[in-house]
Symmetry: D2
Subunit: 341 residues, 4 copies
């Protein structure tokens, strides 16, 4: 019987993408979809690309019985919505940032509010399947990773785990505009964002502590230092993270590639590429393309991760985590190639 999924805030890009993926999932189905601004509307009419859903209602609150909830609410609001669900036994994948940091003080520091449900932080599992598949399978609360951290952590993990690099990385990431959300106001109008590149929240973005936390778990020793600079580039979908780090010892290109291939052997979505990957090769798919390049001249590693921010960076990863939680094949509903060109 199909897993019944409730999507909270189906009207944002991540929620909408989850609904899209569930439409053709062989073992799960959309059972409920909420969205305050469009409550009362029909899903197939509010979003013409989801016309196949027809009269499926968008409601103000979750009204159907569901086996699992995907929360795509804004940070803060998400924890408030998820906490009562978890307490009454509904499994939750939180696509927001509320349960990613294990330390409530860190959360308060970065998000400027006290955590609404700190007692749940210990139960939450960081939902990056390449690192924590077994724990995700047992979890009732999964914190879906941020789009930037997914790209950066997958790019750096093999090198840190193998001791190839110093624990001092510079993550320079480029995101398509859909990462700014469906609202799209405040400088994300077409005329402003088109033909433009800019950095924002330089070394001050709340995805940074998430990278520090997860990268630091990959090795012994002090926390990994991460200077993180996100940029917006004029495209809709895609994250490209270029991570620079000093080598800890001499490494050849062949050795780096071998370390990466070993680390990701058997992984269905993480593809180690011999050449620098293109975000466009992941559009609409759940792939994360990873490429290590050794700068022998300067003793540095350049590790690149590329993915679709709404797929592996959000809704695709949520489906992947649900698959693990409910014993479904990890690739269920996620097996279509990228849309190219």
């Amino acid at each position: 019987m199909a897993v019944r999924v409730g999507v909270v805030n189906v009207t944002g890009f991540a929620g909408m993408e989850a609904a899209r993926l569930l439409r053709s999932h062989p073992g799960a189905e959309l059972a409920a979809a909420t969205g305050r601004s469009l409550a009362g509307r029909r899903l197939g009419e509010a979003f013409p690309h989801l016309a196949a859903y027809g009269d499926f209602p968008i409601t103000a609150e979750l009204e159907a019985d569901v086996d699992v909830v995907f929360s795509a609410l804004p940070t803060g609001a998400s924890a408030e919505a998820c906490a009562p669900l978890v307490r009454r036994g509904v499994r939750v994948v939180d696509i927001a940032a509320d349960f990613r940091l294990r330390d409530a003080d860190e959360f308060a520091h970065w998000f400027g509010v006290a955590h609404p449900a700190p007692e749940l932080l210990d139960r939450a599992v960081y939902g990056l399947a390449e690192l924590h598949a077994a724990a995700i399978a047992e979890a009732d609360l999964v914190a879906n990773p941020g789009c930037y951290p997914t790209a950066a952590i997958l790019a750096l993990a093999p090198a840190l785990a193998a001791g190839l690099i110093e624990p001092r990385v510079f993550v320079d990431a480029k995101s398509g505009i859909s990462g700014a959300g469906r609202g799209g106001g405040g400088g994300h109008g077409y005329s402003d964002a088109n033909e433009d590149v800019s950095a924002y929240r330089v070394a001050n973005h709340n995805h940074q502590p998430e990278m520090v936390q997860e990268l630091s778990r990959l090795r012994e020793g002090p926390p990994v230092a991460v200077t993180f600079v996100p940029h917006l580039v004029p495209m809709t979908r895609g994250i490209h993270a270029t991570c620079h780090a000093p080598l800890a010892r001499p490494v050849t290109q062949a050795e780096a590639l071998a370390v990466y291939r070993d680390f990701y052997a058997g992984e269905p979505f993480t593809v180690v590429s011999e050449t620098p990957p293109h975000t466009k090769h992941a559009t609409g798919s759940n792939a994360c393309l990873v490429h290590p390049a050794v700068d022998e001249r300067n003793g540095a590693l350049v590790a690149i991760g590329a993915l679709d921010n709404l797929m592996k960076g959000a809704a695709g990863s949520a489906i992947e985590n649900m698959n693990l939680m409910f014993g479904l094949p990890r690739e269920a509903g996620l097996d279509r190639p990228a849309l190219y060109p």
Copy 2:
């Protein structure tokens, strides 16, 4: 058992898209793929978004036994490749323009060469399933429609068939740049095509006679006059055809919508929209979104069609025709929602 498909010229955008769709088709599979420039390469390496195909070889000639061939060769070359296949009993869907015009002289006029296999023209069925599903199901040679004609014919067919408009139409169509093919030379470099709109082959494009032929079959009387102006707009995928025609009699907006809904009742891919459709709502899907708007002030109909030129305008339609030819469900392999945003 799965239908075995050979894709001739998998290295163009249409052939590549067919391979993508076959990857997740429940009743068909890619059995062979040719492409001269990349012969000897592996499909999954030549096109990273098709990585799931792994070592599947690209060959110079069709080497496997196949039940059906999709030819995505350039016009002229395609008929030469298809003719021997048809003669020895392999069913063919020709994605090129070679078998669309029923008149060999018209072909010679528009393409500047004699038709390579005129004796096959009578056997070819014009592969627009909304108009010719029964004939397609029986055909061994299907001429897949052009991308522009698909949008324009689907936009105009109900109005012409119901006698709402005079047989005098102005088709003003806008195409994404992928319509110009994978080569992309000659002004289709990014820096030239970006931030630009231009018309080309004004009233002189070889998709015009295709529109005349098919639109004229929808009604009694002389051929439909079609002034066709194609434009390139800075996006990758999408065709938007706005068709202007004088009303033949007074028509209300409600009546026009009713005529369109009746005409397309039960059709799986043609969606009649109450508001002007967006090409983006069809990206990656096989939908054609159709919208009639009555200009009461001036006694005219504006009929709009919007689709993805590589899907309903090329490879999606080829899959749809194959489904009909082999008794598969019409939507097999074509049931995923559009990718939005």
Copy 3:
């Protein structure tokens, strides 16, 4: 001595563009700039591309003595702001739509409000210099044309004036997103507008009566019937109008070109092109590129106009009108080539 210009609503795209052009105008200068939302801010800081203006203040009301005002307010608000200025002898170029239609009832019909200053309509001159240069030079109130009408009227005027076509035209126009204004909300966020084409206000846009009024003045007889369909395409700047009309008599391509060249002989900004023009060839310039193409097969004319909507379609045209009003060379401040690519 330089003409002193006040720009009312400098914070919209048209006002901002006027300020940009005035910065390097040899005979005029920005003397005052208003903008409610940013009143109190400095121009060079609010808009980094205008950094050369440094501390030039944005004020809530016009505070300096000025010779002429450019009003870039929304329609309705603009007439209210312009009327008292005109009454006290300040010359005005209204970039909004308030003084374009000569008939107050037509205005009320299309804009849904009574005209705020109907007694001024007779004094207003329609500011399309190619048609009304002498009247503009004498005017104290100039109604700057809309962006779509500028492209369509310049494309059609020679053919209508010479009697080449029937007074029945279909104007199919494509606009960059900056035409929707700086706000950019309501579907003009990057992620929605990118990779999309759609029509809007089909046969119901308030630029239609403007075309009817001006095109009808070019010939004897009843008003010209205009079916006008605007589209948004994913680029920032540019208008491309493709105008379809039945020929009134047989016309050759050479004759059409000759008629157009005669009509625009000596015009500094209207360029008759032998091939279909590209909007990109006008970006940042005041040019309007015009191209007539005869569809001999069907007895139709396809007349194309291409321009930059913020230049010839708004602020460039305002500068051009000011030059005429103050006896400056028509090309003053408008003599730089387009920015390509």
Copy 4:
């Protein structure tokens, strides 16, 4: 009397841009323009945005007497064309990479050919006016800097000169597609480049030694280590360089800003910004927007430079250097605001 300029290879983007700028330069004029593929064509017809040049001929060889030549040939070919000109006393600004590296061995290493005129390397001055204005004014051979180095060097120079950072930098740069040249083949077709970000020549691009050379001149001690990773992003114009480096000592944000402002005090084109700059704020202008951001948490500096690659990154800088060489005002012909949006 106007300086007479010859543009060698006017048919590339940089040469074309130089012609555009010369059209409205108050003290210089285009006197000759060469271009092999279009020799015999007229400039105003080959490039419609340069229509104002009308019948100005494109020739195979320089045919007019000129005071200075801008060479926009490919690297290697450029030195061969420039050397005889320099020897016979024509002043040269080389927009190619041929005279940037002072060491002929370095040139051979990075470009794979022996330098065609090594004896001229000593006479060549690196044409970055912010650093070498006096030498440029005296030079007869100026090596115009690369687009990436211009952004990176201007972003890093104040910090290196003041000893704020260690001589170990990671330059992560993003370029619009016009940087790949007018040919635009090989993956720069619209359909491939649109909606894509990718890195290329990771830590192996020939602009790296140029950065090392010039950055190392700013301080005592060993050469600066530079890991350089260029990326292509889907826009036409613009370079955005984000430079990461460890701080050499504790530095506050206010101190960093003060150091940068002092360094660039009086500079006409280099603007120190308090917030992360946008490439779009420099489009079509000669500005380089610079922004230092201190990452106090990790003891790092993030220094950003943003510019238009065809202006300050190529032709604008060539004009600026010519102005210095001929005693013209540095901003002559370069004083227009950026085109925004």
